[in-house]
Amino acid sequence: MTERNIPLWEVFIRSRNGLAHKHVGSLHAADAEMALQAARDVYTRRGEGLSIWVVPSSAIVASDPSDKDVLFEPTASKVYRHPTFYEVPDEVGHM
Protein backbone atom coordinates (compact mmCIF):
# COMPACT_ATOMS: atom_id res chain seq x y z
CA MET A 1 0.00 0.00 0.00
CA THR A 2 2.81 2.35 0.95
CA GLU A 3 4.42 1.64 -2.38
CA ARG A 4 1.29 2.50 -4.29
CA ASN A 5 0.27 5.66 -2.47
CA ILE A 6 3.56 7.31 -1.67
CA PRO A 7 5.77 8.33 -4.59
CA LEU A 8 9.43 7.45 -4.85
CA TRP A 9 12.08 10.18 -5.02
CA GLU A 10 15.74 10.11 -5.99
CA VAL A 11 18.05 12.03 -3.69
CA PHE A 12 21.13 13.99 -4.73
CA ILE A 13 23.50 15.53 -2.19
CA ARG A 14 26.25 18.09 -2.72
CA SER A 15 28.92 17.33 -0.18
CA ARG A 16 31.00 19.86 1.70
CA ASN A 17 33.74 20.09 -0.89
CA GLY A 18 32.03 18.45 -3.83
CA LEU A 19 31.17 20.53 -6.85
CA ALA A 20 28.26 18.52 -8.17
CA HIS A 21 25.24 16.91 -6.55
CA LYS A 22 25.72 13.15 -6.39
CA HIS A 23 23.05 10.51 -6.34
CA VAL A 24 22.93 8.93 -2.88
CA GLY A 25 19.75 6.87 -2.90
CA SER A 26 16.00 7.06 -2.93
CA LEU A 27 13.10 7.40 -0.50
CA HIS A 28 9.34 7.54 -0.28
CA ALA A 29 7.57 10.81 0.46
CA ALA A 30 4.12 12.25 -0.16
CA ASP A 31 5.33 15.42 -1.88
CA ALA A 32 8.41 17.51 -2.66
CA GLU A 33 8.64 19.29 0.69
CA MET A 34 8.36 16.04 2.64
CA ALA A 35 10.89 14.43 0.32
CA LEU A 36 13.41 17.19 1.11
CA GLN A 37 12.86 16.73 4.84
CA ALA A 38 13.15 12.97 4.61
CA ALA A 39 16.31 13.33 2.52
CA ARG A 40 17.79 15.57 5.19
CA ASP A 41 16.89 13.06 7.90
CA VAL A 42 17.94 9.92 6.07
CA TYR A 43 20.96 11.01 4.04
CA THR A 44 22.67 13.90 5.88
CA ARG A 45 22.84 12.54 9.42
CA ARG A 46 26.62 12.44 9.46
CA GLY A 47 27.28 15.86 8.00
CA GLU A 48 27.41 14.59 4.44
CA GLY A 49 25.86 17.52 2.70
CA LEU A 50 25.33 21.23 2.20
CA SER A 51 22.66 21.01 -0.45
CA ILE A 52 19.94 18.53 -1.39
CA TRP A 53 18.06 17.87 -4.61
CA VAL A 54 15.09 15.54 -4.78
CA VAL A 55 13.65 14.41 -8.07
CA PRO A 56 10.57 12.27 -8.62
CA SER A 57 11.90 8.88 -9.69
CA SER A 58 9.21 8.84 -12.37
CA ALA A 59 10.82 11.92 -13.95
CA ILE A 60 14.04 10.08 -14.69
CA VAL A 61 14.39 8.67 -18.19
CA ALA A 62 16.81 5.77 -18.10
CA SER A 63 18.62 3.88 -20.82
CA ASP A 64 17.49 0.33 -21.38
CA PRO A 65 19.90 -2.18 -19.81
CA SER A 66 19.46 -4.43 -22.85
CA ASP A 67 20.88 -1.62 -25.02
CA LYS A 68 24.12 -1.82 -23.09
CA ASP A 69 26.14 -3.37 -25.90
CA VAL A 70 24.78 -1.08 -28.60
CA LEU A 71 25.30 2.08 -26.57
CA PHE A 72 28.54 1.46 -24.75
CA GLU A 73 30.46 -1.36 -26.36
CA PRO A 74 31.73 0.68 -29.36
CA THR A 75 33.72 3.05 -27.15
CA ALA A 76 35.85 0.24 -25.75
CA SER A 77 38.05 0.17 -28.86
CA LYS A 78 38.63 3.95 -28.97
CA VAL A 79 41.43 4.38 -26.48
CA TYR A 80 42.62 7.49 -28.38
CA ARG A 81 39.74 9.37 -26.76
CA HIS A 82 41.49 9.14 -23.39
CA PRO A 83 44.00 11.92 -22.71
CA THR A 84 46.77 9.46 -22.03
CA PHE A 85 49.07 10.11 -25.01
CA TYR A 86 51.11 12.97 -23.66
CA GLU A 87 53.27 13.47 -20.63
CA VAL A 88 52.29 15.92 -17.90
CA PRO A 89 55.31 18.08 -16.92
CA ASP A 90 56.27 17.70 -13.26
CA GLU A 91 55.72 21.43 -12.66
CA VAL A 92 51.99 20.98 -13.28
CA GLY A 93 51.72 18.83 -10.18
CA HIS A 94 48.55 16.97 -9.36
CA MET A 95 45.82 17.27 -11.93
Partner: protein
Protein backbone atom coordinates in the same frame (compact mmCIF):
# COMPACT_ATOMS: atom_id res chain seq x y z
CA UNK B 1 19.95 2.43 45.11
CA UNK B 2 18.48 5.34 47.05
CA UNK B 3 16.80 8.04 45.03
CA UNK B 4 18.19 11.55 45.13
CA UNK B 5 16.61 14.99 45.15
CA UNK B 6 18.25 17.94 43.45
CA UNK B 7 18.90 21.18 45.31
CA UNK B 8 16.14 23.78 45.45
CA UNK B 9 18.41 26.52 44.12
CA UNK B 10 16.45 28.39 41.41
CA UNK B 11 19.11 27.97 38.72
CA UNK B 12 19.39 24.23 39.43
CA UNK B 13 15.62 23.80 39.29
CA UNK B 14 15.26 25.91 36.16
CA UNK B 15 17.99 24.01 34.34
CA UNK B 16 16.49 20.69 35.44
CA UNK B 17 13.08 21.67 34.08
CA UNK B 18 14.62 22.29 30.67
CA UNK B 19 16.68 19.11 30.87
CA UNK B 20 13.75 16.93 31.99
CA UNK B 21 11.52 18.25 29.20
CA UNK B 22 14.16 17.33 26.65
CA UNK B 23 15.00 13.92 28.13
CA UNK B 24 11.43 12.75 28.63
CA UNK B 25 10.28 13.83 25.17
CA UNK B 26 13.45 12.39 23.66
CA UNK B 27 12.75 9.09 25.42
CA UNK B 28 9.16 9.10 24.19
CA UNK B 29 10.30 9.60 20.59
CA UNK B 30 12.92 6.89 20.97
CA UNK B 31 10.06 4.48 21.61
CA UNK B 32 9.18 4.88 17.92
CA UNK B 33 12.55 3.50 16.88
CA UNK B 34 11.84 0.46 14.72
CA UNK B 35 8.09 1.17 14.78
CA UNK B 36 7.81 4.29 12.59
CA UNK B 37 5.02 4.40 10.01
CA UNK B 38 7.67 4.30 7.28
CA UNK B 39 11.42 3.92 7.21
CA UNK B 40 12.03 7.60 6.46
CA UNK B 41 9.91 8.74 9.39
CA UNK B 42 11.39 6.15 11.71
CA UNK B 43 14.79 7.72 11.10
CA UNK B 44 13.42 11.26 11.35
CA UNK B 45 11.87 10.58 14.78
CA UNK B 46 15.05 8.93 16.00
CA UNK B 47 17.02 11.97 14.83
CA UNK B 48 14.77 14.28 16.80
CA UNK B 49 15.01 12.01 19.84
CA UNK B 50 18.79 12.21 19.65
CA UNK B 51 18.67 16.02 19.31
CA UNK B 52 16.55 16.20 22.45
CA UNK B 53 18.70 13.84 24.48
CA UNK B 54 21.68 15.82 23.23
CA UNK B 55 20.06 18.96 24.65
CA UNK B 56 19.34 17.27 27.97
CA UNK B 57 22.93 16.14 28.57
CA UNK B 58 24.71 19.51 28.89
CA UNK B 59 21.74 20.86 30.85
CA UNK B 60 22.03 18.04 33.41
CA UNK B 61 25.78 18.48 33.53
CA UNK B 62 25.30 22.19 34.20
CA UNK B 63 22.61 21.61 36.84
CA UNK B 64 25.00 19.23 38.58
CA UNK B 65 27.82 21.73 38.38
CA UNK B 66 25.72 24.58 39.79
CA UNK B 67 24.39 22.30 42.51
CA UNK B 68 27.95 21.53 43.53
CA UNK B 69 27.31 18.11 45.08
CA UNK B 70 29.35 16.19 42.58
CA UNK B 71 26.37 14.76 40.68
CA UNK B 72 26.87 14.27 36.99
CA UNK B 73 24.28 14.04 34.19
CA UNK B 74 23.76 10.30 34.75
CA UNK B 75 23.07 10.66 38.46
CA UNK B 76 20.51 13.41 37.84
CA UNK B 77 18.80 11.47 35.07
CA UNK B 78 18.86 8.00 36.61
CA UNK B 79 18.53 8.50 40.34
CA UNK B 80 15.63 10.91 40.73
CA UNK B 81 12.15 9.46 41.22
CA UNK B 82 9.11 10.73 39.33
CA UNK B 83 8.29 13.25 42.07
CA UNK B 84 11.69 14.85 41.53
CA UNK B 85 11.23 15.19 37.77
CA UNK B 86 10.40 18.70 36.63
CA UNK B 87 9.16 18.25 33.06
CA UNK B 88 5.83 19.55 31.82
CA UNK B 89 3.03 16.99 31.54
CA UNK B 90 2.79 17.38 27.76
CA UNK B 91 6.10 15.66 27.04
CA UNK B 92 5.36 12.54 29.10
CA UNK B 93 2.03 11.81 27.36
CA UNK B 94 2.02 8.49 25.49
CA UNK B 95 2.92 8.38 21.81
CA UNK B 96 -0.60 7.29 20.86
CA UNK B 97 -0.97 7.05 17.12
CA UNK B 98 1.32 8.96 14.77
CA UNK B 99 -1.01 11.99 14.88
CA UNK B 100 -0.67 12.25 18.68
CA UNK B 101 3.12 12.08 18.45
CA UNK B 102 3.17 14.76 15.75
CA UNK B 103 0.68 17.02 17.55
CA UNK B 104 2.66 16.72 20.81
CA UNK B 105 5.88 17.54 18.98
CA UNK B 106 4.28 20.47 17.20
CA UNK B 107 2.77 22.06 20.32
CA UNK B 108 6.08 21.71 22.18
CA UNK B 109 8.36 22.79 19.34
CA UNK B 110 6.19 25.81 18.50
CA UNK B 111 7.24 27.13 21.90
CA UNK B 112 10.79 25.79 22.06
CA UNK B 113 11.95 27.26 18.75
CA UNK B 114 11.39 30.86 19.94
CA UNK B 115 12.26 29.85 23.53
CA UNK B 116 15.80 28.72 22.72
CA UNK B 117 16.28 31.76 20.49
CA UNK B 118 15.35 33.99 23.44
CA UNK B 119 17.44 31.97 25.91
CA UNK B 120 20.45 32.37 23.62
CA UNK B 121 20.39 35.97 24.89
CA UNK B 122 20.53 34.82 28.53
CA UNK B 123 22.97 36.47 30.90
CA UNK B 124 24.06 32.98 31.92
CA UNK B 125 26.82 32.01 29.51
CA UNK B 126 26.30 28.25 29.73
CA UNK B 127 22.54 28.40 29.20
CA UNK B 128 23.11 30.84 26.37
CA UNK B 129 25.55 28.47 24.63
CA UNK B 130 23.28 25.44 25.06
CA UNK B 131 20.33 27.47 23.74
CA UNK B 132 22.22 28.67 20.69
CA UNK B 133 22.77 25.07 19.62
CA UNK B 134 19.27 23.89 20.53
CA UNK B 135 17.66 26.75 18.62
CA UNK B 136 18.53 25.33 15.20
CA UNK B 137 17.44 21.85 16.21
CA UNK B 138 14.11 23.08 17.56
CA UNK B 139 13.49 25.13 14.41
CA UNK B 140 13.79 21.93 12.39
CA UNK B 141 11.63 19.94 14.82
CA UNK B 142 8.94 22.58 14.41
CA UNK B 143 9.15 22.51 10.63
CA UNK B 144 9.05 18.73 10.55
CA UNK B 145 6.02 18.47 12.87
CA UNK B 146 4.19 21.37 11.20
CA UNK B 147 4.55 19.90 7.70
CA UNK B 148 3.23 16.56 8.95
CA UNK B 149 0.34 18.14 10.83
CA UNK B 150 -0.68 20.06 7.71
CA UNK B 151 -0.68 16.85 5.68
CA UNK B 152 -2.52 14.83 8.30
CA UNK B 153 -5.13 17.54 8.85
CA UNK B 154 -5.59 18.30 5.18
CA UNK B 155 -5.21 14.66 4.13
CA UNK B 156 -7.84 11.96 4.21
CA UNK B 157 -10.99 11.95 6.35
CA UNK B 158 -9.27 9.38 8.60
CA UNK B 159 -6.04 11.37 9.05
CA UNK B 160 -8.00 14.58 9.61
CA UNK B 161 -10.13 12.99 12.33
CA UNK B 162 -7.09 11.51 14.05
CA UNK B 163 -5.16 14.78 13.92
CA UNK B 164 -8.12 16.69 15.37
CA UNK B 165 -8.55 14.07 18.12
CA UNK B 166 -4.86 14.35 18.95
CA UNK B 167 -5.07 18.13 19.30
CA UNK B 168 -8.23 17.93 21.38
CA UNK B 169 -6.60 15.36 23.66
CA UNK B 170 -3.35 17.27 24.17
CA UNK B 171 -4.66 20.81 24.35
CA UNK B 172 -5.19 20.67 28.13
CA UNK B 173 -1.43 20.26 28.55
CA UNK B 174 -0.52 23.46 26.69
CA UNK B 175 -1.37 25.87 29.52
CA UNK B 176 1.50 24.58 31.62
CA UNK B 177 4.01 25.55 28.91
CA UNK B 178 3.44 29.22 29.73
CA UNK B 179 3.41 29.06 33.53
CA UNK B 180 5.98 30.82 35.64
CA UNK B 181 6.55 30.58 39.37
CA UNK B 182 8.73 32.29 41.94
CA UNK B 183 11.73 30.21 40.92
CA UNK B 184 11.53 31.53 37.38
CA UNK B 185 10.44 35.07 38.09
CA UNK B 186 13.62 35.81 40.03
CA UNK B 187 15.73 34.42 37.19
CA UNK B 188 13.69 36.31 34.58
CA UNK B 189 14.29 39.56 36.45
CA UNK B 190 18.03 38.87 36.45
CA UNK B 191 17.99 38.23 32.71
CA UNK B 192 18.92 34.56 33.15
CA UNK B 193 15.60 32.88 32.32
CA UNK B 194 13.08 33.53 29.56
CA UNK B 195 9.52 34.60 30.33
CA UNK B 196 7.36 32.17 28.33
CA UNK B 197 4.46 34.63 28.46
CA UNK B 198 6.49 36.92 26.23
CA UNK B 199 6.51 34.11 23.63
CA UNK B 200 2.79 33.43 23.84
CA UNK B 201 1.84 35.65 20.91
CA UNK B 202 4.40 33.99 18.65
CA UNK B 203 3.22 30.52 19.75
CA UNK B 204 -0.40 31.49 19.06
CA UNK B 205 0.53 32.79 15.63
CA UNK B 206 2.49 29.63 14.74
CA UNK B 207 -0.24 27.33 16.01
CA UNK B 208 -3.09 29.26 14.39
CA UNK B 209 -1.27 29.50 11.06
CA UNK B 210 -0.45 25.80 10.86
CA UNK B 211 -3.89 24.71 12.08
CA UNK B 212 -5.57 26.91 9.49
CA UNK B 213 -3.46 25.39 6.73
CA UNK B 214 -4.15 21.93 8.16
CA UNK B 215 -7.92 22.67 8.19
CA UNK B 216 -7.92 21.75 11.89
CA UNK B 217 -9.84 23.53 14.62
CA UNK B 218 -7.99 25.11 17.51
CA UNK B 219 -9.48 23.54 20.66
CA UNK B 220 -10.99 26.02 23.12
CA UNK B 221 -8.91 26.92 26.18
CA UNK B 222 -10.77 25.02 28.89
CA UNK B 223 -9.36 23.35 32.01
CA UNK B 224 -5.60 23.17 31.80
CA UNK B 225 -3.64 20.41 33.53
CA UNK B 226 -0.67 21.47 35.60
CA UNK B 227 1.82 20.15 38.13
CA UNK B 228 4.69 18.54 36.20
CA UNK B 229 7.08 21.38 36.90
CA UNK B 230 6.70 20.86 40.64
CA UNK B 231 6.83 17.07 40.45
CA UNK B 232 3.13 16.19 40.26
CA UNK B 233 3.04 13.97 37.20
CA UNK B 234 0.59 11.82 35.29
CA UNK B 235 0.90 8.07 35.81
CA UNK B 236 2.87 7.81 32.57
CA UNK B 237 6.14 9.24 33.87
CA UNK B 238 6.66 6.39 36.33
CA UNK B 239 6.57 3.86 33.50
CA UNK B 240 9.00 5.92 31.45
CA UNK B 241 11.41 6.10 34.38
CA UNK B 242 11.04 2.37 35.03
CA UNK B 243 12.34 1.77 31.50
CA UNK B 244 14.93 4.50 31.64
CA UNK B 245 16.31 3.93 35.12
CA UNK B 246 16.00 0.20 35.71
CA UNK B 247 19.55 -0.71 34.87
CA UNK B 248 21.23 1.98 36.97
CA UNK B 249 18.92 1.28 39.91
CA UNK B 250 19.45 -2.49 39.78
CA UNK B 251 23.19 -2.30 39.03
CA UNK B 252 24.39 1.06 40.41
CA UNK B 253 27.23 2.54 38.41
CA UNK B 254 27.08 -0.16 35.73
CA UNK B 255 28.97 0.73 32.57
CA UNK B 256 29.48 -1.11 29.30
Amino acid sequence: MTAIAAADTPLVQYTLRLADNALVLGHRLSEWCGHGPMLEEDIALANIALDLIGQARPLYAYAGEVEGKGRDEDKLAYLRDAGQYRNVLLVEQPNGDFAVTIARQFLYSALMAPFWRALAGSGDETLSAIAAKAEKEAAYHLRHAAEWLIRLGDGTAESHARAQDALDELWMYTGELFETDAIERGLIERGVAVDPQALRAEWDETVDGVLAEATLKRPPDAWMQTGGRTGRHSEHLGFILADLQFLQRAYPGATW
